[in-house]
Symmetry: C2
Subunit: 459 residues, 2 copies
């Protein structure tokens, strides 16, 4: 039984906590939503092993709230689909609605626009921002600001008879301005009121806007955007204009690459092993380290883009900022584990900055999550079945990475044998800072992220 | 600011909570540690999709605490190894020490026994139990009760020149009784003081004990075990004896199987596709449902074994019970997703029983976790790259499962091309009931599970 003194102490603590909560509630409500594209637990573990060692902890790992989200996808008829893409999963988070693969904030089947969290925040007088290491027109950022039936309609020239590698993959004809639509994704961004948009994708703004003789970039300028293309120009951009930063033609170059640009490679079995899997031998890919990618030189880091965005968004009415580390996913599609590791490192640095911001802006909710799973899987460097003496190896592609702690980490890519790996259907992690503790259940659906953000912003 | 009335209410609530905590602390401390072998987030998502639908929730998903554990493994020299086996990972949980693959509660390199949580609990006068759907001599249960250098030394005839499929895979000569050792795993169990041991593995008790003319089973009887081999005999076993239940020769048959016993199969590309991956076609495995495995008939369910164990272990001094769903892992090794799904369902039922027990025995800590990741990965039923028109398919083995919600779930096994899949190195989930909330950090190392259990039991 507690003594009366202890009871009094508890009562005083309660009063102090209440006072702190009141003080926090008086601060503007901010949300920083950090999305690691393809960042499932496997990708995090691979990056952790390389960056801080198997016993180390990323900033991510030290978040006070950790749970998972169910990734929900439907087809155009509304039936369950078990593996998402970035368009439908970002739409879940941006709008609270489950849709079909490839769709940007539009409904499955009926193709209707769905209001996004950015639109709701703007309507309430809050500031908004989007930062991505992909093109800002890519599926994840696009789903927060644009509405269109197909993610590949990124610019006015990619609206009809869209081809990819010579194959016709569809169109967005019904969303053309001449058909009463809002046009391509870059045009929708150029006409938007998002206060800060930073990332890659300048090529999608260099083409002429639909039916016009000026570029989409000019359209953005006419709509009040200060457009920059060099990292150094972000900091000096006028404070009274919206900011559009486009630092590469498409996806921004990544920080790390495999030694000499290497990616995962196929083990090569001997002739005899083709006869029986019990005999012969196999030549495994040579081990490699990760090294800086020369192409990254001159690029703003994800952290620097985020810090610029935070400085510009801070205001008395609150803000919503989405930051995407896009190439955890894109490099995994290309079987480049070092690329994914470097981009997860960038995400972790962004989180450091976000946590520092929340320290001095206490009503800031930080959520870190992924959109869907990815292909890369850690498999044993020495097979569990090595004692059999037979050559045991993957029919996929393997990277044997020499880690700083001195051993080899085997990363396997084997979802298909095509030019790019597939996504996977695993549920994905959700983290939050202290502001989310007690408010975010340990398991949510991906659309609930929209609800949690809306609730925190009071929308 | 709170009103004085509210402050008083808070103070009263605090007193009531304190009273509840005091009452709970007066109850004996119990721990139920449920291990899903190979049960990473991917395996859970696959089972959830099949058992309750993509939007459904397993009991597991509704646990109030959810986090992850870093799986730590070393080689004999103490260097980091990134993919564990069930022996070293169970040793982490049973002893708090990181060891090498294949070792049962012994140190890497120096081969010294490490005290297990069961030994500590017994020394403190608590009851102890082990339930597994594997042989009770298999790596996971063994690591809680035995000490030996190699997991395959499960019985007296498997101690020297041990062969598997005709290949010599090692020995445990130094642990033979004639060399001053404790003998094989089954002998160590037979000589143990574990109150309840239930699972498979009767063949390991049928052979003669080392140097003797009686079986290991007889050795167990002589040591006070009531030995049963039929499910129905569990309930009538005398309460004043230890109970050893062995319900199958080795691993217990699983509950579910693929339609007609099918497992994942290789997609078969056409002749033309061998020339170029952009041309030709592919024949995918036919979809299948999961169906009851006829071999499961007559087996006790994991839940019934657990309920028998709980009834026998409940006492005024507290207990430690480990329950393993072994074949989530074993069926994934064999590329049998339906098998894994059924065994995850069994684990979920065990959890229902454990939660009901904790309801009436409030000082019971339930921890549910895995030991390591497994191979099965959900990949898209329709490739993300279907628009290319080329045949996109895995070079591994694929099961296309017709789920009760009416669509197809693709489960890919592609860690190797050998007779069994490999484990994976992903960090693994950790769940607890309310008793663990606030005590278990959102990220722990696997050896910390030992510490958490020890702390709860006051050892």
């Amino acid at each position: 039984m507690r003594t009366p003194t202890k009871t009094l102490t508890t009562a005083v603590s309660t009063l102090l906590l209440t006072a702190a909560a009141t003080l926090s509630a008086q601060q503007p409500a901010n949300v920083i939503l950090i999305i690691g594209d393809g960042m499932d637990d496997h990708q995090i573990t691979i990056a952790r092993n390389y960056l801080v060692g198997s016993r180390g902890r990323l900033t991510l790992d030290q978040m006070p709230m950790r749970g998972v989200a169910q990734v929900l996808t439907v087809n155009e008829s509304g039936q369950a689909v078990y593996v998402a893409d970035s368009a439908n999963s970002a739409t879940s988070m941006a709008t609270g609605e489950v849709t079909s693969r490839g769709r940007i904030a539009t409904t499955a089947g009926s193709d209707q626009p769905i209001p996004t969290i950015i639109e709701l925040a703007e309507a309430a007088g809050m500031k908004t921002g989007l930062v991505s290491t992909a093109s800002v027109t890519d599926a994840t950022p696009a789903s927060f600001v644009a509405h269109i039936n197909a993610r590949f309609c990124e610019n006015p020239e990619a609206m009809q008879d869209v081809e990819f590698s010579g194959i016709k993959i569809g169109d967005c004809t019904q969303h053309l301005a001449v058909n009463g639509g809002a046009g391509s994704i870059s045009e929708q961004i150029a006409r938007s009121n998002v206060d800060v948009v930073l990332g890659g994708g300048s090529k999608h703004f260099a083409v002429n806007s639909a039916g016009g003789s000026t570029s989409v970039s000019d359209l953005a300028s006419a709509n009040g955007y200060h457009v920059v293309t060099a990292a150094a120009d972000m900091a000096t951009a006028p404070a009274d204009q919206k900011l559009l930063g486009l630092f590469s033609p498409g996806t921004m170059p990544v920080r790390l690459q495999g030694e000499g640009g290497r990616e995962a490679e196929k083990p090569v079995p001997s002739w005899a092993n083709h006869i029986s899997r019990y005999i012969g031998s196999v030549t495994m890919p040579e081990p490699m380290i990760c090294e800086p990618n020369p192409g990254f030189a001159g690029m703003p880091s994800m952290q620097s883009m985020t810090e610029i965005a935070l400085a510009r968004l801070r205001n008395d009415s609150g803000f919503f900022l989405m930051v995407e580390s896009a190439s955890i996913d894109k490099q995994s599609h290309e079987r480049k584990p070092c690329g994914s590791i470097g981009e997860l490192e960038q995400l972790n640095e962004v989180l450091d900055s976000a946590l520092a911001f929340a320290e001095s802006n206490p009503n800031t909710l930080i959520i870190v999550t992924a959109d869907h799973g990815q292909a890369a899987q850690m498999i044993p460097e020495e097979s569990l079945f090595a004692a059999f003496g037979a050559p045991v190896f993957t029919r996929g592609r393997l990277a044997r990475i020499k880690t700083p702690e001195g051993t080899i980490m085997g990363v396997n890519y084997a979802t298909n044998d095509f030019i790019m790996e597939e996504h996977t259907g695993v549920n994905i992690p959700v983290f939050s800072n202290q502001t989310g503790v007690g408010k975010i259940p340990t398991m949510i659906t991906q659309p609930q992220i929209f609800e949690l953000v809306r609730e925190h912003l009071g929308l």
